[in-house]
């Protein structure tokens, strides 16, 4: 990267212009006609909530995905990126949110993966190592080129990812949440590198959930909401409040907390629970956390990525071991029980990742729905087809799954209906406490509202509901109580009358007050 980048003179200020970009996944529109400009030598930050379409837009600009319709102009000429390699050859590279490194290879091999330097005899490893060392020096990181990536801590791995993007002399560099695992000093170094790059005419697109941090570095702000650009402005003219206001906007009505009944006894009691980090560091992902949930109550857990929400819910459900504390269900200690035993006592989890943890793709809609409650239709040794049938049909009606029939393959359903199957499957076990990890992830607004309405109905019948979310707007729907988690602890508790700004402030996303 020390060699001067070979830039063609850009036509005017705008290096890349995306026009009217639409991207649909089946029936869901992730982007609805977006215009996006990248200006030469400037940092453009894209703000937006989860699911607003930020990552999708960046994937399109970097050739990972092709738009459903719309055009991209590079230096005023229309281009179509056939692949990431194609986009990289044209000077666009991306640092992904999820690391895309091979952990079994060295830092050097990762940085030059796919574009190894040829020497007289095979590969020029010495030159690769030299360039790697220079990149690391630029990033002020003391990592030997031959270190295996798996031996680095997460922050250092992110540095390697950044170094790889820098090593190709890109003129447009997209950074999707580059700082999520970095320490404060590492972030400062990264910002210095970004300023160096922009001074040399490189354009940066920056995405971050840490609004303040992003506001420090950006020249230009673009806000995306529900697949449309809602606002653009120069950084010097705006403040955090402006960003939050445009990010959140007027929301689709996600309902209100069910009322007209009194909460029952404490159904779930999380008592001083700690969970160790699976990657082996001494950090606790959940740190001595306590929480009581009453029958009929809906509790929302808000937090940024890495706040420990998923770990907490998986631990309560019995999937993850805890390192301290206990979990009580209706006053009885269930800490040592298996997942199956917890389900039979009335504690169920709807996992975050539907495809990986929620559904059996090889089975039909019906078989998925009845999987958790097989005991309810076993007669003697045999399954009773008729009882199963009526159970499945009842659940399909109850949770309003739109399917061609119980025998349809589960893959034929839309994301929202798949989610209803996962929820319906757990509801047929007649639970007392239902945990849902990001139940709205990857489903459209209509399905979201239906899912929340369903949870509201069940809560009114006495079900204790705990759901997690990373979208502020969802906290303000049906939840009676909002818990904000930050670094494994509860940083604030609110009633249903809280504002979005208060929640975001407590999560560490933005400090407004």
């Amino acid at each position: 990267m020390n060699a001067a980048p070979q830039f063609e003179p850009a036509a005017g200020d705008t290096v890349l212009a995306a026009r009217n970009i639409v991207k649909s996944y089946g029936g869901t529109h992730a982007l609805k006609g977006v215009d996006f400009d990248i200006r030469r030598g400037e940092v453009t930050t894209l703000f937006g909530e989860n699911g607003a379409g930020k990552s999708t837009l960046m994937k399109i600009l970097s050739g990972v995905e092709t738009p459903t319709s719309g055009s991209i102009e590079l230096d005023g000429r229309p281009v179509v990126f056939s692949s990431t390699v194609d986009a990289r050859d044209r000077g666009i590279s991306i640092i992904h949110q999820e690391l895309s490194l091979a952990p079994n290879l060295s830092v050097r091999d990762n940085i030059f993966m796919g574009r190894e330097l040829r020497g007289a005899t095979g590969l020029d490893f010495a030159e690769e190592a030299r360039q790697t060392r220079m990149l690391m020096a630029d990033l002020e990181e003391d990592i030997d080129p031959m270190t295996l990536v798996q031996d680095l801590r997460l922050g250092q791995q992110q540095i390697v990812e950044i170094a790889r993007a820098l090593s190709v002399d890109s003129r447009i560099l997209i950074m999707d949440e580059p700082t999520s695992a970095l320490s404060a000093t590492e972030v400062e170094v990264l910002f210095k590198v970004i300023r160096d790059l922009t001074a040399r005419g490189v354009s940066i697109v920056y995405i971050s959930h840490h609004l303040e941090e992003a506001l420090q570095i950006t020249d230009h702000a673009v806000v995306l909401r529900d697949g449309t650009i809602t606002a653009t402005a120069n950084a010097k003219n705006i403040d955090l409040e402006w960003i939050v206001r445009n990010m959140v906007g007027e929301n689709f009505d996600l309902g209100s907390p069910p009322t007209g009944y009194a909460f029952g006894d404490v159904a779930l009691s999380i008592d001083d629970v700690s969970i160790a980090d699976v990657s082996g560091s001494d950090r606790l992902v959940v740190d001595r956390l306590s929480l009581d949930v009453r029958a009929g109550e809906i509790v929302c857990i808000y937090g940024l990525m890495g706040a420990g929400r998923t770990e907490l819910l998986e631990c309560v459900a019995g999937r993850l071991p805890m390192t301290g504390g206990r979990v009580l269900l209706e006053g009885k200690d269930i800490s040592g029980l298996s997942i199956a035993e917890r389900i039979s006592r009335g504690l169920v989890l709807v996992p975050e990742d539907r495809q990986r943890d929620g559904l059996v793709q090889t089975m039909s809609v019906g078989a998925n729905l009845s999987l958790a409650s097989i005991g309810a239709f076993v007669k003697g040794m045999m399954l009773s087809r008729s009882r199963e049938r009526s159970l499945i049909d009842g659940t399909i009606r109850d949770v309003r799954v739109k399917t061609a029939g119980a025998g349809a393959p589960i893959g034929s359903l839309s994301g929202g209906n798949q989610q209803k199957v996962v929820i319906g499957k757990m509801l047929t076990t007649n639970p007392k406490v239902m945990l849902l990890d990001e139940p709205s992830r990857g489903i459209d607004v209509g399905a979201k509202a239906e899912v929340f309405r369903l949870l509201g109905e069940r809560a009114a019948q006495g079900l204790a509901v705990v759901f997690s979310t990373s979208e502020v707007a969802e906290c303000l729907g049906i939840a009676h109580r909002i818990i904000v988690m930050r670094r494994g602890r509860i940083s604030a508790q609110f009633g249903a009358d809280v504002t979005k700004e208060q929640i975001m402030a407590a999560s560490g996303e933005a400090v407004l007050v």
């Binding site: 996944y25 029936g27 379409g53 990552s55 090889t362 089975m363 119980a406 992830r441 990857g442």
Partner: protein, 378 residues
């Protein structure tokens, strides 16, 4: 097609993918079609092939592989593999032979001659124990199934060789005065003109079919093979299921070992060498996916018949043993190739929509069903 979903789609209920077409029918029933072609071709080539007597003889050959394949199917549905069944078959025969010679209890100075039914039970327990070791290694100690059962393949074969010093038990008849006659019944007798071995296969097939389609265990097996994480979160005892399938596979191998040594009237420690591969081939030809969750007994049985009828047919028309091997291999590859086509079509089904954040998961889903991962067979 998984039998679970097949049984569920009643006639009249229109599911989006169940369009009726000849091509689809041929693809789904390809193993059966292959069997018909094999019978037709060999019947034309040899006058001896198409006769009840020959079919029954071939069926009794098929029985050994068929029984092994039913056990193997359970393991493969779970997403595993059991390479130890051939060795378990061999050891079972040797143990049966050993028990038939009488067990000397030196401290008491007596020789026990267990009756045949006790021998059968003990041998089946042995098979279950081998399966238990496999299952514990795989489910609890997290050894990959391929490696664990490969290790057991050697250990069990070695044990069989050690028991007899490499020799063969030739006297399995028992003596009337000791009350342990009747071992040859399994391999030689017929009920209603049908060899006992074939009847045992039929019984095991029916039991297997009931387990898979009508019991909670069967549903658990399909679920944990299709997506272990989802099954576990739904309260399925995935580890128990995993251990159980290896135990059932071991029992099937023992039963096959008993029938084989009875048919041969001798029990050699090298019996059943490489039979595990034939069993895997039968399961694969029968349409099961090596990635787990997909397959059924009917297909597996037809798969076993395809292999058995093909190789016996080649013997009857006098094709050399070397060519037989080539033909069998070609049939297996062809079957897996067709599996790949079938499952690729299924991945491309319309729907599975989701927001942008689900797209990496969809890629993951496609990967689980990727037929390219099914290449270990053969």
């Amino acid at each position: 097609m998984t039998s679970a979903s097949q049984n569920r789609s009643r006639p009249g209920s229109t599911t989006s993918s169940d369009g009726f077409s000849v091509a689809k029918l041929l693809l789904e029933g390809r193993a059966f079609l292959a069997l018909m072609v094999i019978i037709l071709v060999f019947s034309m080539l040899s006058p001896y092939y198409f006769s009840l007597g020959n079919f029954l003889t071939m069926a009794s050959h098929v029985a050994i592989f068929g029984i092994l394949a039913v056990g193997m199917l359970l393991v493969i549905l779970n997403g595993g593999i059991d390479l130890s069944v051939g060795s378990t078959l061999g050891l079972s025969g040797v143990i049966a032979g050993f028990l038939m010679q009488g067990v000397q209890l030196q401290t008491l100075g007596i020789v026990l001659f267990p009756p045949v039914w006790v021998v059968v039970v003990l041998v089946c327990v042995l098979g279950a124990l081998v399966g238990l070791v496999n299952g514990v290694l795989i489910a609890w100690l997290k050894v990959p199934a391929f490696v664990a059962t490969l290790g057991m393949l050697y250990v069990v074969r070695g044990a069989a060789l050690l028991m007899t010093n490499g020799l063969t038990y030739n006297d399995l008849g028992g003596k009337p005065e000791l009350g342990n006659t009747g071992f040859d019944w399994l391999g030689f007798n017929r009920l209603f003109g049908i060899p006992i071995g074939v009847l045992v296969m039929v019984v095991i097939t029916i039991i297997g079919s009931i387990i898979l389609n009508r019991t909670a265990f069967g549903r658990w097996l399909y679920a944990s093979g299709g997506n272990e994480r989802a099954a576990e979160l739904s309260g399925v005892p995935v580890k128990k299921v995993q251990v159980s399938v290896y135990m059932l596979s071991g029992i099937c191998a023992s039963v096959a070992g008993l029938i084989l040594s009875s048919e041969l009237t001798s029990a050699g420690p090298t019996a059943g060498n490489s039979y595990e591969l034939t069993a895997i081939a039968a399961v694969v030809i029968g349409g099961a996916a090596l990635t787990g969750g997909r397959g059924n007994i009917r297909g597996t049985l037809v798969g076993a018949f395809v292999i058995g009828f093909l190789s016996d047919g080649l013997v009857i028309i006098g094709v050399s043993a070397y060519w037989q091997t080539v033909f069998t291999g070609a049939v297996i590859v062809l079957a897996v190739l067709l599996n790949a086509i079938q499952y690729r079509r299924r991945v491309k089904l319309p729907g599975s929509t989701g927001g942008p954040s689900t797209s990496p998961q969809q890629a993951g889903k496609a990967r689980t069903a990727d037929p390219a991962h099914e290449k270990i067979a053969g």
